[in-house]
């Protein structure tokens, strides 16, 4: 019974905390430096996905800097869910692959499989400088290059790493939601 009482206290504490804290989510940041989609593709994306974009994140060999920033997106401060963006657990559920890192030789085939496993229509967004062209790893024997060397890329979000605000702005741009 004590655990039930403790559970009850937890609930109360949680409610008090929620009431005291309120909503801490900030309005979306300003323009980001993002390589834009073509206007036609952008319209297409908007029509197809509307306000729902499910994202599968693929680490193709990243230093995990970008992952840290991406992790920030799901927190209360940036809260990407308010825009209908959502991270999912399987490429089968995804509309968009958010690829980070230079594509290493070991991850190239896995990335291609992930791309093929994603149902159409789909977007590929390369997040971070490494995903763009290999970044500081470009030319390494272990690295093939940017994401576009393996799968077609629809948009690139530069930055090393891109800040959560930039990522969010880039994603929204890719969705065509900011025009």
């Amino acid at each position: 019974m004590s655990s039930v009482a403790a559970g009850g206290a937890d609930v109360l504490r949680q409610l008090r905390l929620a009431a005291r804290t309120g909503i801490v989510t900030e309005p979306p940041a300003g323009e980001a430096d993002v390589a834009r989609l073509g206007a036609a593709l952008s319209r297409e994306v908007h029509a197809r996905f509307g306000r729902s974009l499910h994202i599968r994140q693929v680490d193709a060999g990243s230093c995990n800097g970008c992952e840290l920033e991406i992790g920030g997106l799901t927190g209360p401060h940036y809260d990407l869910e308010r825009f209908g963006l959502h991270f999912v657990a399987s490429p089968r559920h995804a509309d968009c692959l958010l690829v980070t890192g230079p594509v290493t030789r070991n991850m190239a085939e896995a990335l291609r499989h992930t791309y093929d496993a994603t149902p159409d229509p789909k977007l590929v967004i390369a997040a971070g400088d490494c995903a763009g062209d290999g970044g500081i790893f470009a030319g390494s024997y272990a690295v093939i290059g940017g994401v576009s060397a393996i799968v077609p890329v629809d948009a690139t979000i530069p930055g090393c790493p891109p800040a959560p605000a930039a990522l969010l702005a880039g994603l929204l741009d890719a969705l065509g939601r900011r025009r």
């Binding site: 991850m107 085939e109 896995a110 499989h113 093929d116 496993a117």
Partner: protein
């Protein structure tokens, strides 16, 4: 020659079905040939109740005999024993006196014993041996009980027992009931008398397993019902509560063992123990209601039990035939070596699917109807004013509900691991669909399962009539509009026909809408997703053992699993492992707590008795003299 035998069995089956159904509908007859056998003569009587079991035996042996023609191939052995087995099963319910019954019963046991032994392997010899011991221990109980009853009533005819027994005092009747119940429940395979069943069923050829499970063990229940409701007069309430508890233990125990077993046919055998448990719950409920003078409820409970008897006959013979087809095609019964058969053996897979869905009691199939009826009968125990009895009923209800859930898990595992995804062995990879006769037989049984479920309102009427011969009472089920079964004046109702229509409509309408709006684009085929790994093999699939693991852990007090890890390291360093073996076997508490001690006690007694076996004729003469003197002294 074997072909002729199986055709004869088909004719027997068809005749049995026709005679049995006629008997069920009230066409009674009787045959007496006094000179044929000693001690009362051959005496057969057909009544409604016998008709049900004759019809069950006939209707089950018709498809299994058709199946056998494809299954046995050139194998000659076993054909005659099979015909004898079928014939004996058809005679047992008709027997109207002790001698006829004992003969038919023993013939049935012997024929099935020979069929269990047919393979001639050490494991089948062991199975046959355990089967013989258990079945004859049961027979000994039966004969003792029947002889006692015969002596006290002064007759060996069943009809005479029925009229004379109520005059006997309750302890005498209870003693006979206990003996008969032991004997019949050993045949029916309830826990803890089930030990022969998971050995004998897999060892027998599949058409025989189908009959052993579908019909033979039901004849144990037939005897139990005759004894409890007819031969022994009004039952005290402990008969019913005992059966409720035995049934509940059997149902849960059986399904738990089925849930973890790797052998497809042994899994089905354990599931038979479960289903017999469900039937025994129904019988126990009927007896308990009867003892409390709630005859309408007793009739309801008994009808539910009989319905489940019929249903189990249909889906278990179907499942055994399908499992037999799998064995025929792959040569293995091990779930971990099957898989992918849904593509290579579509008919067999479809048949097994129908059987699995029926036995998992999914609406609107037949298993659901009888379990639903059992639930409705048990739930009404609130009308009995004894709190203790209510509690027993409540436990039985909980056991039934748990069994229902576990049975779903068990058959998801059997079908999902055995038939879906990738083949787990070369044998399964090269499997082929079985012969036409076998497919026809399986489809016959599958259609029966569907008909018994969807047509519940038609099937239930004759079953009530049959049950009413044991418990005369007002019909507890009325048929309302829309083929609705209305139980006990509005306590509960069900229309499987309406559920079928609703389910079909609810599939058709969304499909139609999606097609019309053009949303049904052709799916793209691509390999299974598993985090980008490059190839998929059967080794990556979830195994049957892994699937059952949550249950092994949750019910570890029942399974008592042992964890065995053997690691052989390189002599130079223990970090270089050269071989590693892991096993996680479960133990059987019934064996460990009952049969092992019993076995040890018997061996000790035998050793003790060995001390007086000197081998000298003089000593034996002295024993004879001593016994003689003792007898004279007491006389």
């Amino acid at each position: 020659m074997p072909m002729a035998a199986y055709v004869a069995a088909m004719v027997l089956g068809a005749t049995g079905t026709a005679l049995g159904i006629a008997g069920m509908l009230g066409r009674a007859w009787s045959v007496e040939i006094d000179w044929l056998v000693p001690l009362g003569g051959l005496h057969l009587t057909m009544d409604r109740f016998a008709g049900l079991f004759v019809a069950l035996g006939g209707a089950a042996s018709l498809p299994t005999s058709i199946y056998a023609t494809g299954y046995v191939g050139r194998e000659r052995r076993g054909a005659v024993a099979y015909v004898v087995f079928v014939a004996a099963m058809l005679v047992v319910p008709l027997a109207a006196n002790m001698m006829t019954f004992a003969l038919a019963w023993e013939l049935m046991s012997l024929a099935s014993y020979l069929l269990v032994m047919r393979q001639g392997t050490p494991s089948s010899a062991h199975a046959g041996w355990v089967y013989a011991v258990m079945t004859h221990a049961g027979l000994a109980c039966l004969l003792t009980g029947m002889l006692l009853l015969g002596a006290w009533t002064g007759s060996s005819g069943f009809a005479e027992w029925t009229t004379a027994a109520p005059a006997l005092d309750v302890p005498a009747r209870s003693a006979v009931w206990a003996l008969l119940a032991l004997g019949f429940l050993a045949k029916a395979g309830t826990m803890p008398l089930h030990v022969w069943l998971p050995l004998a069923h897999p060892a027998a050829p599949s058409h025989v397993s189908a009959l052993m499970s579908g019909v033979m063990i039901k004849l144990g229940l037939y005897g139990l019902l005759r004894a409890s409701f007819e031969w022994l007069g009004p039952a005290p309430s402990w008969w019913g509560t005992t059966l409720l508890l035995v049934g509940a233990a059997s149902a849960v125990g059986g399904v738990l063992y089925a849930l973890t077993d790797r052998d497809l046919k042994r899994l089905l055998a354990y599931s038979s123990i479960e289903n017999v448990g469900i039937i025994v719950i129904g019988i126990g409920g009927a007896l308990a209601f009867r003892a409390a003078d709630a005859d309408t409820l007793a009739l309801l409970s008994l009808t539910a039990a009989l319905y489940h008897v019929v249903n189990h006959g249909a889906f278990k013979s179907l499942l055994f035939m399908a499992a037999g087809s799998v064995v025929h095609a792959t040569g293995t019964r091990d779930l971990e070596a099957l898989g992918g058969l849904v593509k290579r053996m579509p008919w067999t897979a479809a048949a097994f699917f129908v059987g699995a869905a029926s036995i998992a009691a999914l609406p609107p199939l037949n298993g659901f109807v009888s379990e639903w009826l059992t639930f409705q009968a048990l739930l009404q125990n609130v009308q009995l004013p004894v709190a203790g009895l209510n509690l027993v009923f409540t436990l039985a209800i909980a056991a039934l509900a748990l069994t229902g859930g576990l049975a779903v898990a068990c058959f998801v595992r059997a079908y999902g691991i055995g038939f879906l995804a990738l083949a787990r062995s070369g044998a399964a990879e090269s499997a082929h669909e079985v012969a036409l006769t076998m497919r026809v037989a399986m489809m016959m049984a599958a259609v029966t399962c569907v008909v018994l479920g969807v047509g519940a309102s038609v099937v239930v009427r004759p079953l009530i009539d049959v049950a009413a011969t044991l418990v005369p009472a007002a019909a507890p089920i009325a048929i309302g509009p829309g083929l609705t079964l209305q139980v006990s004046n509005g306590f509960a109702s069900l229309s499987t026909a309406a559920v079928t229509v609703a389910l079909a409509g609810a599939i058709a309408v969304p499909l139609g809408v999606l097609t019309v709006v053009g949303a049904r684009v052709r799916p793209r085929r691509y390999e299974t997703w598993a985090c980008g790994r490059l190839l998929q093999t059967a080794r990556m699939e979830y195994t049957a053992t892994a699937f059952a693991n949550p249950f092994t852990r949750v019910f570890d007090f029942f399974y008592r699993p042992v964890r065995q890890v053997e690691i052989e390291a390189h002599p130079e360093s223990r970090f270089f492992v050269s071989r590693m073996a892991y096993a996680n076997p479960t133990r059987f508490i019934v064996d460990e707590w009952i049969y092992r001690p019993l076995h040890r006690a018997m061996r000790a007694t035998a050793r003790g008795a060995g001390a007086i076996q000197s081998g000298s004729a003089n000593a034996y003469l002295a024993y004879v003299l001593a016994v003689l003197l003792l007898l004279l002294a007491f006389a």
